[in-house]
Amino acid sequence: MHAAATEATASLPIAVTYLRYIPLAPLVGVLFHIALGYRLGRRAVGLVGCAAVAVSFALATKAFLTVAGSPAGTVVTDNVYQWLSSGEFSANVAFTVDALSSVMIMVVTGVGFLIHLYSVGYMAHDEDYARFFAYLNLFTAAMLVLVLGDNLPLMFVGWEGVGLCSYLLIGFWYTDPEKASAGKKAFLVNRIGDAGFVLGAFTIFWALVDLGQGSLTFATINARAAELPAWASLAGALLLFVGATGKSAQIPLYVWLPDAMAGPTPVSALIHAATMVTAGIYMVARLHGLFEAAPFSLQVVGTVGAATALLAATIGIAQTDIKKVLAYSTVSQLGYMFLALGVGAFGAGIFHLMTHAFFKALLFLGAGSVIHGLHEEQDIRRMGGVSQKMPITHATFALGVLAIAGVPGLSGFFSKDEILASAYASGHTWLWGCGVFGASITAFYMTRLYVLTFRGEFRGDHHEWEHAHESPATMTLPLIVLAALAVVGGYVGVPAVLGGGNHFAEYLAPSVGHHQLGLDAGTELMLMGISVGAALAGIGLAWTMYSRGPKADRTLANALRGLYWQMRAAYNIDAVYDALVVQPLMRASYALWRSVDMQFIDGVANGTATAINSIGEGSRRWATGNVQHYMLTVLAGVAALVLALTLGALIGVAG
């Protein structure tokens, strides 16, 4: 039962001028860090960094409250200036906050602020302190532009801006070539996605121009999407989705996210868990009108989401690096969000986005705290029993694990369950099947991670264990706040069947339409039971296996035989891409340069030069110096001329 078409609520725009300062505040922070950062020392940098995001957070809250307070469908707009105008095309720098973006800016600034606070402690002993905060602030500014932009080109500014910041932050410790190439890889894979994004925007724009209203603002696109010719809306949607897979790490462009773990952990938390990777989901939700106008595109989104969720989950099981596990978990959870969008439940997708931001940021920061405590140890097989040394990290991390596993009562349960219910309701039962199976695997690998890290004896070298200690307050405080959010976050969207009003979905309705489940209470409860059962089964199995320590991996390997080692090596997709794309490209360009440039074109150019010279040399030899040869040439000339004239005349006469 398809979602009701979005009723064309008369969105009454409230024109304000403070929206522009939300992205501007972090930008000012960036300038401060660059100009004075190195001179004023760590305290000032940390303070200004966090303060900048705090200002944004305050303004974001103000906008959120205005939107929440006023009647449904109201939009807060701030039209700064006309950025581009050429022929039929024009784009303004204009920011809008409606229900959807209000949630996003709250998540970005809220979680962002906490991560900034965390970084003050985490990066305390790094000498490039100012540069780190400059990049972090720049990222926040770019993400806010992406979320607040009211048209595709402005969103694209933020879109590539966050790509740039992830490039800079992943390669933050640039002296290590490994990390630098990880950054480059992230940027290039994103760029491939961005090419798709741009082409999608063009297709839509010119189709709209042909309708007589050439513009790329979201309002126009959603309003006129239905009138677009079928091929235009489908091609536009799919191309934009290519951009989304690049940014939100879905098949086939997800390969950069696991390598992005080379960056400092707060970066992974902020960029590769909470904010940047959600950009793709936000874009699809924002352009829901377009995607609904091309139903096939929604199916593609759903299938890709489900496939990525499963694939990433399987790889997550076999990883040994704590951050790699979380990375694949993120890819998998993003797959869930796209699954939700694919079945039309845009609200559920955004809901899961929000809750995921909370518990995934929590898990990453927890992992960061563990790594920080154990002095850069990241291999979970050489951890264990950390709970005794780091009680707060252990407690918060445990809550995170429970939330992501979907244990009832925590935020993960509500959002994931809503997605699975919508999947089932929309008739795509095999999507639902994948979802449930994925949920149990998620529960399994998260519990494995938890048990291997915090339970049992410490397996690392003795010296590390002696110095292991709980992280300072600046790091544990954000953990606690995030843990609280991870628990409480879900209660905003309690489904009706459990007595909640599902306020979150209603709140988002004006922006992305309200998706009625249309299931009777019985089936809904039954679905809930199945998903909870799957989760608990996963947890139980993992607990029993891994309480005996990492040896359990071998038993799992035997059970899955060859497949396990494939999963460990992430089906070595990187090697495949390298062989299929990168190497042929390099060989081709070398061959092109050698053959086309050197031999062919230069060959022709130098060839004509030598040819002319040889003709010159030949006729130069003609002047032998002997007078009689010259006379002979003169007389030959006479003969030739007379012949020419007479022949000419004869032809003339005859002709």
């Binding site: 030899r621 002047a623 032998t624 002997n626 007078v627 006379m631 002979l632 007389l635």
Partner: protein, 100 residues
């Protein structure tokens, strides 16, 4: 009856003999003489022309040509003499310093 055409034919023959002489013989003086022969062939053509046209112009032109040929001979022989004094040879194919 011997008409203008025959005279012209004769002058053509004379002309080609001169041309062949200039190209074949090695001695520079002989080459010069052959060229003088060609000039005289032209004179013959002039006279034949003037005869056929019945006007005296052609014949008067011959005098101009002869004086010019004489002056030319004087200058030419002077040049050949200077060359001979320096190089003790008059063979055309040995005079080939300036080439290519």
């Amino acid at each position: 009856m011997i008409g203008t055409a025959h005279f012209l034919a004769l002058s053509a023959v004379l002309f080609s003999i001169g041309a062949v002489g200039a190209v074949v013989r090695r001695n520079v003086i002989i080459i010069f003489m052959s060229i003088e022969l060609m000039l005289n062939a032209a004179n013959l053509a002039f006279v034949a022309g003037s005869n056929s046209l019945g006007s005296m112009n052609g014949q008067s032109i011959v005098f101009f040509v002869m004086t010019v040929a004489a002056a030319e001979a004087a200058v030419g022989l002077a040049v050949i003499l200077a060359l001979f004094r320096n190089r003790q040879t008059v063979a055309a194919d040995e005079i080939a310093l300036l080439k290519w």
